[in-house]
């Protein structure tokens, strides 16, 4: 066994230990430990990615001495390693970009708690990505929920606590359904490891036994994860949670936490149920329908919003709709488009949240559109970054959003029954996206002459500006050289079963 095969396990354990150690550290020390942890994890994930690409197949790492089907396992392939790498990079950038706001908004002497929570959040995300055991996945889903709730309410005001309560309630409904579905599937198959479950499910379907319980458990798990990742009708908690928490939390929640659940759903579809069996249950049609509705209603809510942070939050609802629409196509191509959109949305949405905070800061802290007039001139870095993020979300070539829309359209054309609704809604949603994002961009670049607000230059905000530049580069790289990424996703998916 190569030494690199230890890396996924090491990175998860490092996060857990960093979380424990941070709880006894001072604010500054916890911050540096967290930054070091994220850097190390980025490197470890990058090594794992190159290793899995070089051996061309995933590897299984046995936790403890018990082999399958009794023991616990970690499984890492190209797709998992790519996700882990991306999660670490985005989290590192989001935390650095929002650090000055965190210091402002959280009581002094309490920010170390924020880093404890983000270490735990990263451990749960990595465990969700790598684990091969369904019950381990459930436990880490709950850790993820608790850590995310902490990230929302670390900024103490009435709004954030209420948002955290609403978030917890919806999340708990979702994880209750996930747990029940998981227990039913365990009773049907007698296994908890994904690969063994899949064999047993295939046997059940071949013998035509226990069809109704099987479908019920698939539905329960899918709906549970849809609720947790804020698919359209379950998104009521989202604008408050993203809109009022501190900016790093908003960026991490929108681009990583919901994506972790979606990735778990992908794993369930491919590695537990099997793609064809999942497709035959027709649940994909329901996901497709709600994805389309989310794309339209999320955008309409965003247009009606008068608060820039909440507008970006509602835009997330629409983007989650895109991802579920890709699932709903029921084809491999649609799945690849969805996974690429997970990456592209993560890179873009965190950029938008962090850029928006720069714009509101030079507008007296107000998030109303009228106050933002001309803020693109007062903080040039944030203005440019917000424009790049908006163009990417709308789907202008050169940026990552264009590639995901291209992949979605290609997937739609290949699916004859769903082509027409998918293309029409994709078109409408793009126009709606353009309306609210371009409205904001025009607003921030409308000159208003003399104001009471001060201008900000690079010297005042060096780290913040560097983070924005890194995000812009990430977006453009994903947009220009998307083919290698798509190839990795394709290779990962083909060895995913």
């Amino acid at each position: 066994m190569d030494f690199i095969q230890n890396f996924p396990c090491i990175s998860i354990i490092l996060c857990l230990f960093a979380g424990i150690i941070s709880s006894g550290l001072k604010d500054k020390a916890a911050m540096w430990l967290n930054a070091a942890l994220l850097t190390v994890n980025t490197l470890l994930s990058a090594f794992t990615l190159t290793y899995t690409l070089s051996i061309g197949q995933p590897f299984v790492y046995v936790m403890g001495r018990f082999p399958a089907p009794w023991g616990n396992e970690i499984r890492a392939g190209a797709l998992e390693a790519l996700m882990a790498l991306f999660f670490c990079v985005i989290m590192l950038l989001s935390l650095f970009g929002g650090r000055h706001k965190l210091v402002e908004e959280v009581e002094e002497g309490k920010t170390y708690l924020y880093y404890v929570l983000s270490d735990l959040l990263l451990s749960s995300l990595l465990a969700l990505v790598y684990t091969n055991d369904m019950f381990t996945a459930y436990v880490f889903v709950e850790i993820n929920t608790i850590a995310a709730c902490g990230l929302i309410m670390i900024r103490q005001n009435g709004r954030t606590i209420e948002a955290a309560v609403r978030y917890m309630i919806m999340s708990l409904l979702g994880s209750g359904m996930l747990l029940l579905g998981l227990c039913m599937l365990y009773d049907l198959t007698g296994h908890l490891l994904m690969s063994n479950m899949k064999e047993a499910v295939a046997l059940l379907v071949a013998n035509n036994a226990y069809q109704i319980p099987l479908i019920v458990s698939i539905v329960l798990m899918s709906v549970g994860l849809c609720i947790k990742s804020a698919l359209f009708p379950f998104h009521a908690w989202l604008p408050d949670a993203y809109g009022y928490s501190t900016v790093s939390s908003a960026a991490i929640l929108s681009s990583l936490v919901s994506k972790g659940y979606i990735f778990l759903l992908i794993k369930i579809i491919y590695r537990v149920i099997g793609f064809d069996i999942y497709h035959d249950t027709r649940i994909v049609d329901i996901l497709f329908l709600f994805g389309l509705m989310g794309m339209i209603f999320g955008s309409i809510s965003a247009i009606r919003e008068n608060d820039v942070r909440r507008m970006i939050a509602y835009s997330s609802v629409a983007q989650i709709g895109y991802i579920y629409m890709g699932f709903g196509m029921g084809t491999q191509v649609g799945m690849i488009a969805s996974i690429f959109h997970i990456l592209s949305h993560a890179a873009t949405k965190s950029l938008l949240f962090i850029a928006a905070i720069g714009l509101t800061d030079v507008s007296g802290g107000s998030r109303k559109f009228i106050e933002l007039t001309g803020s693109g001139y007062r903080n040039k870095w944030a203005g440019v970054a917000f424009t790049v993020g908006s163009l990417s979300m709308v789907g202008v070539p050169l940026f990552s959003g264009f590639i995901s829309k291209l992949l979605f359209s290609q997937a739609a054309v290949q699916n004859h029954t769903k082509m027409l609704p998918a293309l029409i809604v994709l078109g409408i949603s793009t126009i709606l996206n353009a309306i609210y994002f371009m409205k904001t961009v025009i607003r921030i670049y409308t000159p208003i002459g003399e104001t009471a607000y001060t201008n900000v230059t690079f010297k005042d905000i060096p780290i913040y500006a560097a983070v924005l530049v890194a995000f812009i580069i990430l977006n453009v790289v994903l947009g220009i050289s998307s083919q290698p990424v798509v190839d990795i996703i394709q290779q990962g998916l083909s060895t995913f079963a």
Partner: protein
């Protein structure tokens, strides 16, 4: 169908309880009642698991009288899952209760809709 329901009455009761808990967590506006619903929901799942792991006429797999035969014991994995699940649900309940205390100190009510109304008035 009906006969199945009767022989597996434990599972049927568990599903019923799950429904009650789920409905309470979703529909009640009082936060404490919501948390009670959450606990009923989680406990229902543990009942379901315990029912599934139990095999009539067998005992827990603790070897005392030297019987090593697998046929003498129940399936211990669901019991292990229940224990893990209990730990998770305790921590989640504690978190929810602490959030409820925070909100109550601030707004002097446990009604989530009332809290939303007061927040709108604050205009935050």
């Amino acid at each position: 169908m009906g006969a199945n329901l009767f022989t597996n009455y434990g599972e049927a009761v568990a599903m019923l309880l799950f429904g009650i808990g789920f409905g309470n967590l979703l529909l009640q506006t009082n936060l404490i009642k919501k948390i009670i619903g959450l606990n009923i929901m989680d406990t229902a799942i543990y009942l379901f698991l315990a029912e599934k792991g139990y095999i009539v006429g067998r005992v827990a797999p603790i070897v005392t009288d030297g019987v090593q035969n697998m046929e003498a014991y129940i399936n211990p994995i669901p019991s292990g899952l229940v224990l893990t699940g209990i730990v998770v649900s305790v921590s989640v309940s504690a978190l929810m209760l602490s959030l409820t205390i925070r909100l109550y100190r601030r707004y002097h009510t446990l009604d989530l809709d009332e809290i939303s109304k007061q927040l709108k008035k604050e205009g935050l």
